[in-house]
């Protein structure tokens, strides 16, 4: 198990390889379908949000407003990342992202962008909304709540020991490509 703590420097990220299990600590931001499309179309990040050397989490959490006005994430697992494949490479490049947390893996364009710009894909366990919400110690801020609705908003989260597996690294490796190729071969044998 590798501790991956803020700041997420290029050096730390390039040292990771496919199959590494990591525990992430620090500030991360959520962003999913609406945010990716918006940024791809030239939209600006709201004032106060920087993704540079940061981690973007493909997640639409359940967040409840507390009596004191603060927010609490009560369920927060990853959403399927492949939907962001048309946008992700550009967003990694333009916003200087070092890590993308999601599930299900991503495609060749993201793989190439990870290699070129120094970013990794971090696979969290899909459906594990409670275990992962426990790792969110604070919901610091929310942006685009009205514009995109709660699941699609940008939530700024402070996480401690958030578990994930590196499945796309900066060395051109993808666990997803590997498993797909292997399973295709196995299937052909059984048809």
């Amino acid at each position: 198990m590798i501790n991956l703590s803020f700041p997420f420097t290029e050096e730390k990220i390039r040292a990771l390889k496919v199959g590494d299990e990591v525990l992430i600590s620090g500030v991360i931001h959520t962003g999913r379908d609406a945010v990716h499309k918006y940024l791809h179309e030239g939209g600006k990040l709201p004032p106060g949000v920087s993704l540079r050397d940061g981690i973007l989490y493909h997640c639409g959490p359940v967040v409840m407003k507390q009596d004191d006005g603060s927010w609490k994430a009560t369920a927060a697992g990853p959403t399927t990342s492949i939907r962001e494949e048309p946008y992700q490479a550009q967003i990694i490049r333009d916003f200087g992202i070092r890590g993308v947390i999601g599930k299900g893996g991503m495609g060749d364009r993201t793989l190439a962008a990870c290699k070129e710009f120094g970013c990794v894909y971090l696979h969290a366990v899909g459906g594990a909304a409670q275990v992962l919400a426990e790792c969110i110690k604070k919901v610091s801020n929310v942006y685009f709540l009205e514009k995109f609705g709660s699941p699609e908003a940008i939530w700024e989260l402070e996480v401690v020991d958030f578990p994930a597996v590196v499945t796309i690294d900066t060395h051109g490796n993808s666990l997803h490509k590997e498993i797909l190729a292997r399973s295709q071969v196995e299937l052909v044998k059984r048809l």
Binding site: P61, M64, T79, T80, G127, Q130, H176, L180, S183, E186
Partner: protein, 295 residues
């Protein structure tokens, strides 16, 4: 403060329990699969997190998965049952369950992109009423997340690319192709609900009714039972594994039904359910109180 009707109270409780507690048969299947995976593998790690998550969701009475999914009600009711009042009450129960955090604000206007936070709108939640001549009322609820819904697939046979003809072997090829294409994207290990035949709409609809079956049950139709067992075994030999990390458990179960088709059509409709298989049910008395839990 408005007084909540007994029916509404029962339905809120049904939603809470469906969202927060995995059914016993699913939990058993997950635990059995964990035993099968290689120690210290990524698959075993994923299963451990899944198991912790199941326990935590139940203890905290919070959603197993943040995507609380499409809300599908299956209601069996006697002749003369007031379906309109039931649907109105269920919609109110859904709104309340959303306020309480048992459901995410999960329903978006497809034209405007607005999410009004109620989980109610055209087609949401969905109701399937079935009348019967006996007096029992039962309500089954399935919460089906978007990740697994997106990897569902419908094949029209023959399919030249798959070399799949209009027979059970062709169905097998189509179903296994869907498993291959899904990889880990649907939050596997998954459970397949399949319908052979029907039209494009009824095929998918019937494929989802297969999720009302228990994981260890066996299909009473011998050909379908054989196909179910074969697909389960073959899929688990492909090495896709939980989350697509690699491993021995790609599917936890396969459930297949058949419906009549037109001579011109031969659809194989495949719905994929994630491991976070949220399905529960109750029988209700005439006043709307819960009599017993069905899963």
């Amino acid at each position: 403060m408005e007084i909540m009707s007994q029916l509404q109270e029962s339905l809120v409780e049904l939603i809470r329990r469906t969202s927060a507690e995995i059914p016993g048969d699913v939990h058993q299947a997950i635990l059995a699969s964990l035993e099968n995976e290689k120690k210290n593998s990524l698959a075993a790690s994923a299963f451990k997190i899944i198991d912790q998550n199941i326990a935590l969701a139940k203890t905290k009475s919070q959603p197993i998965c943040q995507d609380t999914g499409s809300i599908l009600f299956y209601v069996n009711c006697p002749v003369g049952f007031d379906q309109i009042t039931f649907a109105e009450t269920a919609r109110e129960a859904v709104k309340l369950a959303t306020k309480k955090g048992f459901l995410r604000q999960n329903s978006v206007d497809s034209l405007t992109g607005k999410n009004d936070g109620t989980n109610c709108g055209p087609g949401a939640p969905a109701f399937h009423f079935h009348q019967q001549r006996t007096p029992e009322i039962s309500v089954r609820l399935v919460l089906k997340g978007g990740g697994c819904e997106n990897v569902g697939a419908q094949y029209s046979l023959p399919n030249e690319k798959l070399n799949a003809n209009r027979d059970l072997d062709g169905c097998r090829k189509a179903i296994l192709d869907a498993v291959l294409q899904a990889q880990g994207k649907g939050c596997g290990p998954g459970i397949l609900g399949v319908c052979i035949g029907g039209d494009r709409a009824t095929g998918y609809e019937l494929s989802k009714t297969q999720f009302l079956r228990l994981i260890p049950d066996r299909n009473p139709v011998p050909e379908l039972d054989a196909l179910e067992q074969d697909i389960l075994k073959t899929a688990n030999e492909l090495g896709i594994g939980p989350m697509g990390f690699g491993g021995k458990t790609t599917l936890l179960g396969v459930k297949i039904c058949a419906a009549n088709r037109l001579p011109a059509s031969y659809f194989v409709s495949i719905s994929y359910m994630c491991w976070a298989y949220r399905r529960q049910g109750v029988t209700l008395d005439a006043g709307g109180a819960i009599q017993k839990w069905l899963y």
